[in-house]
Amino acid sequence: MSPSLRFRAPGAATGGPYARRIDTTADDLDAVREPGAGAALAVIAEPDGFATAEVTGAGLERAGVAAVLITERVVLSPRDPVMSLGFLRFLREATATGVPVGWCGRCELDCAPVLLRHLPPPQPMTAPATIPDGPHRFGLCHYRAGPGFVLVTDRRTGRERRTTLRDPEVIGALTACARPAPAEDVPPVLIAAGLVLPVAGQALTLPYRLRRWPIPCTDI
């Protein structure tokens, strides 16, 4: 009979509190895993796939992805808007569902750093990427949907700013840019408020829709 209660060193199997390690691709990241299996650390070597991958927070949660490690360097650049916004979209969705992401690389996008503070930043390129200990600054920039309005809470600057969006065209653009979409259709007010990021003709919504609550929920 196997021992009843054994011990092993922390992170012996996966480097963190995850039962499995899965080497996968951006496209397969939210494919449904075996039901009942424990949470996984997903390791991705090839970040190019984020250009087209349909990664959502709900998908990550369903798949049991508890952390993601990107092993290749990532360069976010206006020369590759599709890949850059696709990758930011992935960071946004992972943050929304509390999944830590470890990646290293460089950001050359023409935007104020403050706009991205709610997303996990790149680690220095001098060492391999590591898995952060926990999710990145949960709730720093998010929105909540109500009947005919959207409440945006933005603490990226260190001061809380709450905005109520009512204009259906503005709300529609915020929703449409959940995945990269043509920037020409985006009302300028969203870009001016730093809620949608335009990159070389494409645009992405930066706040995530709140899917999970922190404990205590009154902290955000």
Binding site: S4, G98, L116
Partner: protein
């Protein structure tokens, strides 16, 4: 008639006053049309303090008095100077009271310097509306600020009629207020929806007031005459509250940017548990225990209208307990709205996982389950109807669903002993990953509670709580009728046990934020990841079909024999001593909680999310316009960091 409804400090700044909103709407049921205005004196007070102190006294200082001061009549003391026209009223008594308890007075002494001037201003602002009748809604710490302004109104314009109502007026407290403060024309005891309409109708028609239920009024000689009370207000007569003027006041307030407005909603009154088993310490339902709830479609429609009208997704319900029928007919309706609500609800602690799922899906992410204790014997003494292990299970399952749990640890129950507490306190370190109690309190005796009504339960001798001494100047017999909280010689635990309980809770609160204990399936095994403060960082592997099954069975509290029977019926029988030894190992590792012969597993399915991490650092370094140093993508070796 012109009517002004008033909500004075220390009503919370973020929320509308439910009684004012309800009565505002109910006045529409009067025989004649009347003009109604609401006066949010609580908001005005916070604004006034900000103006007078150039912002040094803030809304956070207000919140301190409203939240912490409530147990010490701090807010009432601040306005007692205005009530008694004595700027130094009982100052030494108050300071000595706080000193003895090691309590921080916050800015209360500075606030008090402005109380008299503010009450003059509030009276003038209310009178500027030229009301014929001014109604004060008074609950908890609203009494003295309301009395102070009422007295000024009566002095400035004696023809204006003053009426008090609210929780502070229930039962004998209402007539006591009427006797003690002659500038009050009327006090309504009990629920106001029918009585207030009857009062307004009678005043408008110039009729006698004998038919107004629950009303204290003046006889020909100025003496207090008390009418008989009516029955409970039927749920159909409880209207949708009208918060229009609160919303306008918030929008116009200079404090607007500091406050996150939250709606207040009432779907039910009374307590269905209390009707059968009145928790011995609870007096919150006053004289209206009978449970009544609005039909689910109506609740859905009213909530939807409030959310739509005020564009607020945060709602606190004031129901003393969630109607169990709402799991069937309300929560699915709220879920189907598809809105990102943040609802707060009081619930009973014995909820099943699927009920917690429904709460979360409906947007109820904040619950107050009345946990009170983790020891079954003490819970039995308070007639709570739950087991200590059920409470722990709720804390565990709430974490998995991102539900915030508000609870307090209560002690001081007649009949409890140190032996009830020691084993539970010893297990606090193992619970550190679960949400700790926000406070720990030796119970007071609340009016209307079984402890108050039935001296044989252990509190034979009682007196009004000490805090009333720094507030009122009343004959002791009158104070006995006016007070809500009472105290007696301490009952139950004390000394070293009390100290161990308090320090155990303090350690739990301190270490909670950095702790997690999670489990996952790993092939045929179970891995428990221990990341709790105070425990070695390690991974426990539960192996073997019988033990894996047993661990899963312990997600529900079970006795050792019960667990053995379940395993046997699944064809996985273990000898009782083998099972007991294995459970002993789990207990030693802090993986289960045991109380009253039942055992429950402690690990959650995933760590909960935290939002507290200070101000953002400048960690997104953007190399604008920089040429990449390399054209390809250097491949880094995959690396992981030991968790």
């Amino acid at each position: 008639m012109r009517i002004c409804l008033v909500s004075m400090p220390w009503h919370l700044l973020e929320t509308p006053c439910l009684p004012v909103g309800l009565l505002h709407a109910r006045i529409g049921a009067c025989r004649e049309r009347h003009e109604v205005a609401d006066y949010y004196g609580n908001l005005r007070w916070a604004e006034f303090l900000g103006e007078r102190t150039a912002g040094e006294i803030s809304s956070a200082d207000y919140a301190y008095v409203a939240d912490r001061g409530i147990w010490h009549a701090m807010g009432d003391w601040i306005f007692a100077s205005a009530l008694h026209d004595d700027p130094r009223w009982q100052e030494e008594t108050f300071r000595a009271y706080l000193d003895r308890r090691g309590l921080d007075p916050g800015t209360s002494v500075r606030m008090r310097e402005h109380a008299q001037e503010f009450c003059d201003l509030a009276a003038a602002e209310i009178l500027a509306r030229e009301p014929d009748l001014v109604g004060f809604s008074s609950t908890f710490q609203q009494n003295v600020a309301s009395l102070s302004v009422a007295r000024r109104i009566k002095r400035l314009r004696p023809a204006t009629k003053i009426v008090f109502g609210g929780g502070n007026c229930d039962g004998p407290m209402g007539p006591a207020l009427h006797r003690g403060f002659p500038f009050l024309d009327y006090v309504i005891s009990g629920e106001g929806e029918i009585a207030f309409v009857a009062l307004v109708d009678a005043l408008a028609a110039g009729r006698r007031l004998d038919d107004v239920p629950g009303l204290a009024h003046r006889g020909d000689g100025g003496e207090t005459v008390v009418n008989g009370r009516a029955g409970m207000v039927p749920i159909d007569l409880i209207p949708q509250p009208d918060y229009t003027e609160w919303w306008q006041a918030i929008q116009a307030s200079p404090l607007r940017g500091e406050l996150t407005p939250v709606l207040i909603y009432e779907a039910a009154r009374g307590c269905w548990w209390g009707e059968k088993h009145h928790c011995t310490f609870c007096g919150l339902n006053g004289t209206s225990m009978k449970f009544r709830s609005k039909p689910a479609p109506r609740v859905r429609d009213e909530l939807a209208e409030l959310v739509r009208t005020y564009e607020i997704l945060d709602v606190v319900t004031v129901d003393n307990i969630l109607d169990t029928a709402y799991f069937r007919d309300l929560l699915p309706r709220l879920r189907d709205l598809g809105w990102d609500l943040r609802l707060r609800y009081e619930v009973k602690a014995n909820l099943q996982p699927e009920q917690l799922d429904l709460l979360r899906d409906a947007g109820v992410c904040h619950i107050q389950p009345g946990i009170e204790s983790l020891n079954s014997q003490v819970l039995r003494l308070m007639d709570k109807g739950v087991h200590g292990t059920q409470n722990v299970r709720l804390l565990r399952d709430a974490n998995d669903r991102d539900l915030t749990v508000d609870w307090n640890y209560l002690y001081g129950f007649p009949g409890e002993t140190a032996a009830d507490y020691r084993p539970v306190i010893g297990q606090f370190p193992a619970l550190v990953h679960l949400q700790p109690p926000s406070g720990i309190t030796r119970i007071l005796i609340e009016r209307f509670s079984p402890h108050f009504e039935r001296p044989e339960l252990g509190f034979a001798e009682r007196r009004p709580a000490e805090m009333y001494r720094h507030v009122y100047d009343l004959d002791p017999a009158e104070l006995e009728d006016l007070a809500y909280q009472f105290e007696s010689a301490p009952q139950g635990i004390g000394g070293a046990t009390e100290e161990a309980l308090r320090s155990g809770v303090a350690a739990w609160q301190r270490d909670h934020l950095d702790s997690a204990l999670t489990w996952q399936a790993d092939g045929d095994d179970i891995v428990v990841f221990d990341r709790r403060t105070g425990f070695p960082r390690q991974e426990h592997i539960v192996g073997g079909a019988a033990r894996v099954r047993a661990y899963r069975l312990l997600e529900r509290p079970r006795t050792l024999p019960g667990l053995g029977r379940e395993l046997a019926s699944a064809g996985l029988a273990l000898a009782e001593d083998t099972l007991a030894r294995w459970l002993g190992g789990l207990r030693d590792a802090g993986l289960v909680f045991e109380d009253g012969g039942r055992i429950v597993a402690l690990a959650t399915r995933r760590p909960s999310l935290r939002a507290r991490d200070g101000l953002p650092a400048d960690d997104w370094l953007i190399e604008a316009g920089a040429e990449p140093a390399d054209t390809g993508r250097p491949v880094a070796a995959s690396g992981t960091r030991a968790g």
